[in-house]
């Protein structure tokens, strides 16, 4: 009697597990699984920890040279100021708070990885995505140096990029937890 019960229970458990596994398997079976190498190449989103960064290194000096060679200067101006494209270096003094300064990516970004990410995916105009990792590290270093975020002799690499102390620190709004069918802001009637 007792053993009968055990068998029934284990059968029940077995079918429950089987149905759980079934529910998690693909329903349509359409498409293909990308290879790990494909994913590594296409995954250009860099998180705050910098995990996705490729190996490489860059210096302020090399960045300054690339800024001329890659014609960044043509659109963004000498030293990141005065071009048609967005301004890349502040004209304000060190006494002005980051929120009072211009909206400059290598100055206001809460993490240097955001600067790296955008140069890598979106620059230079017409040749987006052609920069090599070392070149992106160097250009990032140069732009951070222009905004006095890092010293001139700092070498940037995969290990230290995410650790660069940005001027904004923690002084910026964080995303709230999204709730379905809820007002935009709790307690806000409009």
């Amino acid at each position: 009697m007792a053993s009968h019960k055990v068998v029934t229970i284990s059968l029940l458990l077995g079918s429950l597990l089987a149905s759980a596994a079934f529910a998690q398997s693909p329903t349509y079976g359409v498409g293909r699984t990308p290879t790990a190498e494909e994913l590594r190449r296409m995954d250009i989103s860099i998180g705050f920890a910098g995990e996705e960064l490729p190996p490489g290194r860059g210096t302020v000096k090399e960045g300054a040279q690339l800024y001329m060679q890659k014609a960044c200067v043509g659109c963004h101006g000498v030293g990141g100021i005065g071009g048609l494209a967005p301004i890349l270096a502040t004209k304000q003094g060190a006494d002005v708070s980051v929120w009072k300064k211009e909206r400059i990516l290598p100055l206001r970004a809460p993490n240097a990885t955001i600067v790296w990410d955008f140069i890598n995916r979106g620059m230079p105009l017409g040749l987006e995505g052609t920069l090599k990792p070392d070149e992106v590290y160097s250009l990032t270093a140069y732009l951070l140096f222009l905004n006095k975020v890092i010293p001139e002799d700092q070498v940037l690499n995969k290990e230290n990029l995410a650790k660069v102390k940005m001027p904004i620190g923690d002084a910026y709004g964080k995303p709230h937890e999204f709730k379905l069918n809820a007002p935009r802001l709790e307690g806000y009637p409009y």
């Binding site: 494909e38 989103s45 929120w99 809460p110 999204f178 409009y190």
Partner: protein, 425 residues
């Protein structure tokens, strides 16, 4: 049974004969017109005829008398195309709109930093989903279309859709919103196919334009109502709307609706892309007002630069929408906000979609201000700028900037001569 069958057959026969007769008559009439003879007295053609052309037959064009066009949106001040040939912000001519569907040709356009339109070959384009999923998946466009589809009406609105006293007409004040019927696959269908891990909290949606524009979206939104859309208003998406595939994030600011969608990366935490850098604000509160669109409405007729020919009956008409759900009510005031009247709906309000409202009004020819306000089905309401300033406990000034997306009431002033101008001026 037999009798029933027989009579049905006869009916069908009779129907065919009738249809044939009409066709013959139509041919006869057309022939008579072609010969320059009126078929019957008084039936002379009042207009010249449009000769059929290959283009007219293959893909229809509107009348040459209909000249409504999109224009560069004034906010941001960048022309489209700009000196590089990039497109930035282009507004839809709402002042000429009827109903709720924006024609695809007139849908507003916005790009993340000003960009070219990629000329994507749909045979080569793929969408990859990876990250916090059990099975990463790469789909061709043909494969995407094998999943069950949905067709829904949704608006999109750009964060730059702000009204101020300097703008002249409703295209400038509100033209950065449009509404289409979108067809595609629910994102939840695809995420279930990939096996979403419990660690999944956010996802990054990335496009294939030259800047690979990307936005971070809560996974709860993705599992609720996001659509991986390939169709717009009964045909394929236009390149300006992200051909061959985009993500619809119903009710969220336009920038989240990534066009030319090529990759979805499901993540454990919030990723700050260039788009989110653009959203940065000092305070959490203001940031929160930057993703979901608030309840909003505007009168499109009569609106700025239009003119009422004289006192009499008018149908005041406009659009209302909300990023939080469906529109619940719209009220119209024709006395500068002293009294409000319930407007009627011209279509059934749907979640995160424009609804066309109207109010029948007899104008007596005196100077006045007209405006509309709306509420949605999650209890939010559209307010006057004064009310919003009061909530934030800041002094109200003429150029007061509404925090987050500007969903405040838009007044139109009507002068004695019927001229309509911006009521904020």
């Amino acid at each position: 049974m037999d009798l029933e069958k027989k009579s049905r057959r006869e009916l069908l026969k009779a129907g065919a004969a009738l249809a044939g007769g009409i066709t013959m008559a139509a041919v006869g009439k057309a022939q008579a017109q072609h010969d320059g003879h009126a078929a019957t007295p008084g039936s002379e053609n009042a207009s010249p005829m449009i000769h059929g052309s290959k283009e007219q037959i293959e893909y229809g064009q509107r009348s040459k008398y209909v000249t409504s066009v999109r224009v560069q949106h004034p906010i941001g001040g960048r022309p489209s195309p700009d000196v590089f040939g990039k497109v930035f912000h282009v507004a839809s001519p709402l002042q000429d709109s009827v109903g709720v569907i924006t024609p695809s040709s007139l849908h507003y356009i916005a790009t993340t930093r000003g960009s070219f339109l990629p000329d994507v070959d749909p045979k080569l384009h793929t969408l990859t989903i990876h990250g916090e999923v059990d099975r990463p998946l790469t789909l061709t466009m043909d494969e995407l279309k094998r999943f069950p589809s949905v067709t829904r009406l949704h608006f999109i609105e750009c964060a730059g859709n702000r009204h101020n006293g300097k703008q002249r007409n409703v295209q400038d004040t509100h033209g950065m919103t449009s509404c289409s019927e979108w067809t595609g696959v629910l994102m939840s269908t695809l995420l279930k196919e990939c096996g979403l891990k419990s660690s999944a909290k956010w996802f990054v949606a990335e496009g294939a334009e030259e800047v690979k524009g990307a936005s971070s979206i809560p996974i709860a939104k993705g599992m609720d109502d996001c659509i991986i859309a390939y169709g717009q208003n009964g045909e394929a998406l236009r390149p300006q709307q992200g051909f061959p595939v985009r993500i619809m994030v119903p009710g969220f600011e336009g920038i989240y609706h990534t066009k030319f969608l090529r990759r979805i990366k499901v993540t454990k935490e919030f990723y700050m892309n260039y788009n989110e850098f653009g959203h940065l604000r000092p305070e959490d509160k203001e940031l929160a007002l930057g993703d979901q669109i608030g309840p909003k409405s505007v009168i499109t007729y009569p609106s700025g630069t239009q003119r009422l020919p004289g006192p009499g009956l008018y149908e005041i008409s406009g659009l209302a929408w909300s990023g939080g759900g469906a529109v619940k009510t719209v009220e119209v005031s024709t006395d500068g906000g002293k009294t409000w009247h319930r407007a009627e709906f011209k279509n059934t309000p749907q979640r995160m979609a424009h609804v066309r409202f109207a109010y029948q009004w007899k104008w007596d020819g005196t100077e006045t201000v007209i405006m509309s306000r709306t509420t949605d089905d999650i209890g939010q309401r559209q307010a006057l700028r004064e009310e919003i300033a009061e909530w934030w406990k800041v002094p109200f000034e003429r150029d007061y900037r509404v925090p987050g997306l500007d969903n405040s009431v838009m007044p139109w002033k009507i002068a004695k001569d019927g001229m309509v101008t911006n009521g904020l001026a």
